[in-house]
């Protein structure tokens, strides 16, 4: 499917950075905040001129791809039906400063994107844009072939959806390391050596391929075997 219109749920730091990149890449961009449109209108007009401030429903209805960029603790405030049939990028992470106690937000026995996928059961979730800091995302987007280009990890269960998102990530200014397993999202969750890191395709691939040798990878394995 050709992506022409990007819808972003969340007008915070990450949502605004992604809106800026999407505009630069030539997409039509709609973005919503937690309240009514008026609350974010000035912000959007000033920070990402060209993006359209809208309500959640409007953003989703007019999007070929939807990006979830809200605090992880709030995704359940969106009704699952809203995203029915949509291709959705999960850019969220557990972040204790905004989300509070982890156990109240996430089930400890699975990964955050698996839980997001289970909740939005009629949407296709692909995890991306979650592990690089938002200011690196903003400053380090580069055209394909640039030797200083950085890479992002893209993963999900639906192969076609993952490939579509990988291409989208490319147009946004990043190389991609692609997996077809949403549970592999754990590799970029907080605590991972990839969380907050800004790496080249070669370095990102090396860490992903040898993830079981990282301290965090060993902890994840140990937790699974319990």
């Amino acid at each position: 499917m050709a992506i022409k219109r990007v819808g972003i749920l969340g007008a915070g730091k990450v949502g605004i950075v992604l809106a800026g990149l999407a505009l630069k890449a030539g997409y039509e961009v709609r973005i919503s905040g937690s309240g009514d449109v008026q609350k974010i209108a000035l912000t959007i007009k000033t920070l990402v001129p060209g993006a359209i401030a809208a309500e959640n429903a409007d953003v989703v209805a007019n999007a070929d791809i939807v990006i979830l960029a809200i605090p992880l603790s709030r995704y359940k405030k969106i009704t699952p039906d809203l995203l029915k049939g949509k291709l959705v990028i999960d850019a969220m992470n557990y972040w204790w400063e905004t989300d509070g106690i982890r156990e109240e937000v996430l089930d400890p026995d699975s990964t955050s994107s698996e839980q997001v996928q289970a909740y939005f059961k009629d949407a296709t979730i692909v995890k991306a844009f979650n592990h690089m800091g938002y200011h690196n995302l903003q400053e380090e987007a580069r055209p394909a072939g640039d030797p200083k280009r950085k890479a992002l990890f893209v993963t999900g269960d639906d192969k076609e959806a993952v490939d579509t998102v990988a291409h989208f990530v490319d147009t946004m200014g990043f190389d991609q390391v692609v997996h077809y397993n949403i549970a592999d999202g754990i590799m970029t969750e907080p605590g991972s050596p990839l969380f907050g890191a800004s790496l080249s395709l070669k370095d990102l691939t090396r860490i992903i391929d040898h993830f079981d040798q990282t301290e965090f990878g060993r902890e994840v394995m140990a937790a699974k075997q319990k």
């Binding site: 007008a11 915070g12 730091k13 605004i16 974010i40 000035l42 912000t43 007009k45 000033t46 920070l47 603790s73 972040w95 204790w96 400063e97 905004t98 509070g100 106690i101 800091g133 200011h135 690196n136 903003q138 400053e139 969750e189 907080p190 605590g191 991972s192 050596p193 990839l194 969380f195 907050g196 890191a197 800004s198």
Partner: protein, 351 residues
């Protein structure tokens, strides 16, 4: 357009634990006394403001910044005394007013309130607040503080605070109004809120290029205009370290600032800072590290780029020695600040 003569330069500390020359750590009590000494130095060197942070953790000595500022008030004459920041969300607005009004009295009107939501969360459980109320707590308490700040009888009720009915608070200040900033980490909502309340804004730029914040500064001015509130020049605070040679500055800063960021990152699941990241931050990012000339050039660039009225350098991150901290303050005040003004004056003349 930057008015060089009106520019303010400050220093801020989070109250990091000071190291002895042999690498052992001083006590929190010794570290607190060191801050008082540094406040005195900063005043003698003519800096505009010293800010002291509020934390409730083993790696920072200060949980009660107004008390430390009270001691600094008694040994200084000109320097403004600020918190960096007062975590309003877990505080009581009446107490905040009372403490600052007292500090204002002790210092002959030099108290400066900096309110923020804080980037740490220890104070929430410590004072019995729920972190999930993060936004609501700040909004409500700011509304209450805003009324108290008028120093007139206040009637207020809310979800989290005590109810006030036509209540006066004391002492009154001599100026009639406490100077108040809101500290902002870069969320657009916070910027608009500060503009809505008509407060001055100080942005914490702790990572990445200052250029990224240009639209945020524009947003503050646009919001103030739209809401018909007063507009002030924006202030910025960033980390830094200055030494006589660039190599020495880089070595000390890498060890200390990295350790500081990594330790905090560990609790948030953030990967440790690489040497490459650190160097990027010192070359074009938000760490002002180097010899006086290099740091002056970078600060001048940021001030011009963001059209600032004030720049505060956060000093002492990690475990630096008293000598390193004091030398940094001396170099900042006597070499960097005059040089920044000189660079900016040349630029004005060139224009």
């Amino acid at each position: 357009m930057v008015d060089v003569n009106k520019l303010e330069f400050g220093i801020e500390t989070f109250g990091d634990i000071v190291a002895n020359e042999d690498g052992s750590l001083q006590s929190a009590a010794q570290s607190i006394r060191q801050i008082v000494r540094e406040g005195e130095l900063a005043d003698q060197y003519g800096l505009s403001v010293i800010g002291v942070g509020e934390h409730h953790r083993p790696d920072y000595s200060v949980s009660s910044p107004e008390t430390v500022l009270g001691a600094i008030a008694s040994v200084t004459k000109q320097i403004k005394l600020a918190t960096a920041v007062t975590v309003l969300s877990s505080d009581n607005p009446v107490r905040v007013y009372e403490r600052f009004a007292t500090l204002d009295a002790l210092s002959n009107g030099r108290a400066q309130v900096m309110l923020g939501r804080g980037s740490f969360t220890e104070s929430f459980p410590l004072f019995g607040y729920d972190l999930t109320d993060y936004d609501d707590l700040f909004n409500e308490k700011l509304a209450m503080y805003d009324q108290l700040r008028n120093e007139k009888p206040v009637t207020f009720s809310g979800k989290f605070v005590q109810e006030l009915k036509n209540q006066e608070v004391y002492p009154k200040t001599e100026s009639g109004k406490l100077e108040t900033y809101i500290g902002i980490g870069g969320s657009p909502e916070s910027i608009i809120r500060a503009a809505r309340f008509g407060y001055k804004v100080i942005i914490a730029i702790i990572g990445g290029q200052a250029d990224r914040f240009k639209p945020y500064v524009d947003l503050y001015h646009a919001a103030a205009k739209e809401l018909k509130m007063p507009e002030y020049p924006v202030a910025v605070h960033s980390h830094g370290f200055i030494a006589d040679s660039k190599d020495e500055a880089m070595e000390v800063a890498f060890k200390n600032i990295k350790a500081n960021f990594d330790r905090i990152g560990l609790t948030r699941g953030w990967a440790p800072m690489s040497r490459e990241q650190f160097e990027g931050e010192t070359q074009v990012g938000s760490f002002y590290v180097g010899d006086p000339e290099f740091v002056a050039q970078r600060i001048a660039r940021t001030i011009k780029l963001l059209d600032l009225g004030r720049f505060d350098l956060v000093y002492g991150a990690g475990n630096q020695t008293a000598a390193q901290r004091e030398r940094m303050i001396e170099l900042y005040a006597t070499k960097v600040v005059p040089r920044v003004k000189e660079i900016l004056s040349e630029k004005v003349a060139a224009n």
